[in-house]
């Protein structure tokens, strides 16, 4: 995935889309006040300077899907594991809730179900049937909408063709009104996401940790008399 900070406007559509797609529980005000709100993707906001010379930057942060993920080796039950396509998958029915993975994650993108989620009826009808609902004691995280990946792969397989670039998108990417997020196959050097990830504006979060994230951020550009930097 590539996220362009120059396009992101901080509108939070990705956050709402993610909740709707992935059956993420709302925890309510008391639990939220204890830091237990669950947002698989969040929009971070950074201030620079003092009034009136203020600059702000937004940065949407989903799971970085690290190639060398700190969350994986710490799991005693192999619930967080590296799937063959390179995603950091979370196998819910292996998870026993040690929360080691959340402690190990430098990006703070893993969320723990402190309680069984409550859905006041008929809010439960909004559930996406393709995504399991997590219960108390389970760690959950961004999956790059693996249910959409699988569905597209099965469809392509049935039609005996390779997956097309941009054929499907995770919920956040599909909704993004400023088209700040691009999703695709990094293994294919010709895909849009591969080309963008080689941009000279590109970097990864906390790259000094050696986690090798699969999300590339394109930094906020500056204006030089109408030209790109």
């Amino acid at each position: 995935m590539v996220i362009d900070e120059d396009r992101c406007t901080g509108c939070e559509a990705c956050v709402a889309a993610c909740h709707a797609e992935n059956n993420i529980a709302t925890v309510g005000d008391d639990q939220a006040a204890r830091g237990r709100a669950m947002h698989w993707i969040r929009v971070e906001r950074y201030y620079e300077g003092d009034f009136p010379n203020i600059k702000v930057k937004y940065r949407p942060v989903p799971c970085q899907q690290c190639s060398d993920a700190p969350c994986e080796p710490v799991c005693p039950t192999y619930a967080s594991y590296h799937n063959p396509e390179g995603l950091n998958a979370q196998i819910y029915n292996r998870c026993i809730g040690t929360r080691y993975c959340a402690n190990a994650c430098p990006y703070l993108v893993r969320f723990f179900n402190f309680f069984n989620p409550v859905w006041d009826k008929p809010l439960d009808l909004q559930f996406n049937p393709d995504v399991s609902v997590r219960s108390v004691g389970i760690m959950e995280k961004c999956t790059f909408c693996i249910q959409r990946i699988k569905a597209a792969e099965i469809k392509a397989q049935a039609e005996k063709r390779p997956l097309k670039d941009g054929e499907f998108n995770p919920a956040c990417v599909q909704s993004c009104p400023a088209e700040a997020m691009v999703f695709g196959d990094l293994n294919d050097p010709e895909s849009k996401v591969s080309r963008l990830s080689r941009s000279n504006r590109g970097s990864t979060l906390l790259s000094e940790l050696g986690t090798h994230p699969k999300v590339t951020y394109l930094k906020r550009d500056t204006w030089h008399n109408g030209q790109n930097a």
């Binding site: 559509a13 005000d29 599909q174 204006w223």
Partner: protein, 756 residues
């Protein structure tokens, strides 16, 4: 019999049992026969129209088979039906091109909201008690019709008022026809963040009483005065799309965004350059820019045409608006004004936007006229990379419905007895929540003998109703929408119900039609359609002869094709319709300094309420997804707050989360402090949307409502509420407030504090 048929029949059987007690079981049953096309586990995508705000984006609704537990007359039944599971943007729709904002995404929680009114109810307790009794639809509509028939015109118009949100669709047309057939005054339209001022300004400058559309995708330079156009203002999804292209969609070329405001909005946070201007002086700053452009002959004065003639002193080169003079009144530096003016003249196409707080000042109209003149001077009107007006589809009856009275005038008439109202119909408008106390809306509404609401929720206004006839949600009913802005094509969106109704509700237009037929006489004749669907079909048929996205030989083909595509749009063909017409002269306006409510000595802070990214004007506060979605600037969830400048806070000894009392001449409230670096030292800001007393379990009794301390000052020319013109004072209560931040507070702040 195969397994599927067996399941179908047993589902029908259980439905029959569950619905046994209903008046006409065969009517009920038809709605619950499992839908043929649904295969368990396979998603169907159906078109939809988003009604979460007025932008009118096109939807795709993901419908899957599911089992819904529904209650009918006290009996619970499990029904297998198609359920909306996810909303996405319609990729073909000219406004949102497959994209959707957070409000749109949260639309599912409108349909599945546990606090929806599930059947018609009649009030049994005193007004405001919330005590109701369930009644049947026949009885409810009969009561509505008999109330309407018994109204006697007291000399002038019928003492009936219809209070609605501004509707840009055939529901609005239907209401208009209904009222005029009854002999009642036109509908009273209400929303808190009304756009009257901007529409009026565009009418005066450009001859279009309409919100503007901006071609940001082709713009090279954008100056925006106060409008949160990437968050909540006008057509946010379309504007985000254009903005993304302006920034990084054109290789080698990148547009600049300059935002002028007193409190850094979500849009301001994206700006390449953020300029502080004192509240209400935005028009002066625009004229300062125009002065430089005229003086340095970067554009001829005549280039502004009629829009320039609207401004006093334009033809003389705006001698009173030198950068130095403007710098003094606005707070922006003179050198910067000069530089910005040169930059925007050099980097065509440049476009200027104005919206939000600058228009909600006593001088709002003149601010907008100044910006319009600047746009015209830059040559950006009706041009690529500039501002244009969305052409309207060629449908009969659609001409802008007559402006009704304002809520303020309605309530003044009731209270003074000069225009009594004996019956009031309310649809999706909540003025009791969203009007300043001086308007005395609740007091006025309580004097009305009969109030009926079509709302899906009990809110502060509909709790006063004697009868609630709950509407379907927008996923359960026929929806259409005619976007006012956000595209250069003429668009008429349309969608059939994406799913069957979950509850015992009925679509407002259908209820109105049936009531009209029961009233009979001329009223029934003026509304010849049996259902809203019939009315829509007739209206859309008029589009068949025009070139557009749907072409079909027969009316039936056209109708089904329009439904399948989610509407009709003109395509490139009608783009020329957006050419701007001149308006006959009116007296030129002088851009003045704004007036504020409250003396500076006693009330030192400008109070700036703003549309919340989570709740808009408060209507989305009952959606748990929106309550828990972190606000993008503060990361606050489930909260309200008062934004205050760090230096001001330090001076007053205020720390993050301290409970403050904010008082104006008209009221006071308490809310926790949020130390916000992007706000002027003499301004405090609050998001609108929380502080509901009655709006379901998620919104009620949460936070404070800033509208309730606003003064009643209005914009001088249009009479619109000047909601940004109140002054307040702030005191510490000594207590801590409830401020829930997802970001764990502004972590970078304490360190910077110590350094200062």
């Amino acid at each position: 019999m195969d397994r599927r048929n067996f399941l179908k029949i047993s589902a029908v059987g259980s439905a029959t049992v569950a619905l046994d007690a209903c008046g006409k079981p065969e009517h009920q049953l038809i709605r619950f026969i499992p839908e043929e096309e649904l295969i368990p586990g396979i998603a169907q995508w159906k078109p939809g129209v988003c009604t979460q705000c007025a932008a009118g984006c096109g939807l795709q609704v993901r419908v899957m088979e599911g089992e819904a537990e529904v209650t009918r007359h006290g009996q619970v039944g499990l029904l297998s039906m198609g359920l909306a599971k996810k909303l996405e943007g319609n990729p073909a729709h000219p406004v949102n091109r497959g994209k959707l904002c957070a409000w749109g995404q949260a639309g599912l929680q409108v349909t599945y909201n546990p606090d929806r009114v599930r059947f018609p109810i009649r009030r049994t307790g005193p007004r405001g008690s919330g005590e109701y009794q369930e009644i049947g639809w026949e009885e409810a509509i009969k009561e509505l019709a008999s109330r309407l028939s018994s109204l006697k015109p007291g000399g002038k118009a019928l003492p009936l008022a219809f209070l609605t949100e501004p509707l840009r669709d055939h529901r609005g047309v239907l209401i208009g026809r209904f009222l005029s057939a009854l002999g009642a005054p036109p509908a009273v339209k209400f929303e808190f963040f009304e756009q009257t001022v901007l529409r009026r300004a565009n009418e005066l400058s450009f001859g279009h009483q309409q919100l503007p559309t901006f071609d940001l995708a082709n713009a090279n330079y954008v100056i925006c005065f106060g409008a949160d156009f990437l968050g909540t203002w006008n057509s946010p999804v379309a504007q985000n799309l254009g903005y993304g292209t302006m920034r990084q969609g054109r290789p080698g070329q990148r547009g600049k965004l300059v935002q002028v405001e007193a409190r850094m909005s979500q849009t301001g946070a994206n700006a390449d350059e953020w300029v502080y201007a004192k509240p209400g002086t935005e028009g002066l700053l625009a004229l300062g820019l125009a002065h430089v452009i005229l003086k340095e002959n970067l554009r001829p004065a005549g280039a502004a045409g009629e829009a320039g003639d609207r401004i006093d002193g334009w033809s003389r080169g705006l001698p009173d608006h030198t950068p130095e003079a403007v710098a003094k009144s606005t707070g922006a530096e003179a050198a910067r004004i000069q530089r910005l003016a040169r930059e925007m003249a050099e980097h065509a196409p440049a476009v200027v936007l104005i919206g939000g707080a600058p228009l909600a000042q006593t001088n709002g109209l003149s601010n907008a006229l100044a910006v319009n003149a600047l746009n015209a001077l830059l040559g950006s009107v009706g041009k690529p990379g500039g501002v244009s007006f969305t052409p309207q589809p060629p449908m009969p009856d659609l001409d802008v419905p007559k402006e009704g009275a304002s809520v303020r005038a309605l309530c003044e008439g009731i209270l003074a007895g000069s225009a009594p109202v004996e019956a009031l119909l309310v649809y999706n408008a909540n003025p009791v929540f969203a009007t300043p106390p001086a308007w005395r809306v609740q007091e006025a509404l309580e004097k009305v003998a009969f109030i009926a609401s079509f709302g899906s929720f009990v809110d502060e206004t509909s709790i006063l109703a004697d009868l609630i006839l709950p509407d379907h949600s927008y996923l359960e009913s026929w929806v259409d929408s005619i976007p006012e802005s956000g595209t250069t094509e003429a668009v008429a969106s349309l969608a059939p119900p994406a799913m069957n109704p979950l509850h015992h509700t009925r679509a407002m237009p259908d209820v109105l039609l049936e009531a009209a037929h029961q009233v009979g006489g001329g009223v029934g004749k003026a509304l010849p359609w049996k259902t809203y669907q019939e009315m829509l079909q007739a209206a859309f048929e008029s589009l068949r002869s025009h070139p557009g996205s749907v072409s079909a030989k027969t009316p039936d083909d056209f109708w089904s094709e329009v439904q399948a595509k989610g509407g009709w749009w003109s395509g490139e063909a009608a783009k020329s319709a957006a050419v701007v017409a001149a308006k006959p002269s009116a007296a030129p306006a002088t851009v003045t300094e704004p007036q504020f409510d409250g003396a500076v000595q006693e009330y030192p802070f400008n109070f700036l309420p703003y549309a919340s990214l989570q709740f808009g004007d408060g209507r989305h506060a009952n959606l748990p997804w929106m309550q828990e979605m972190p606000d993008t600037i503060s990361t606050a969830m489930w909260s309200t707050w008062v934004e205050i400048n760090p230096q001001t806070a330090e001076r007053m000894g205020i720390r993050q989360g301290d409970l403050l009392e904010v008082a104006s001449q008209h009221g006071k409230l308490q809310a926790p402090a949020l130390i916000a670096p992007g706000i002027a030292p003499d301004v405090v800001a609050m998001p609108v949307g929380q502080g509901h007393e009655n709006y379901g379990r998620y919104a009620s009794h949460r936070g404070a409502n800033p509208i309730k301390i606003l003064g009643p000052q209005s914009e001088a020319e249009t009479g619109a509420l000047a909601w940004a013109s109140t002054r307040v004072k702030i005191t510490r209560t000594g207590k801590k407030g409830k401020l829930i931040l997802f970001g764990g507070g502004l972590r970078e702040w304490p360190r910077e504090y110590r350094r200062r």
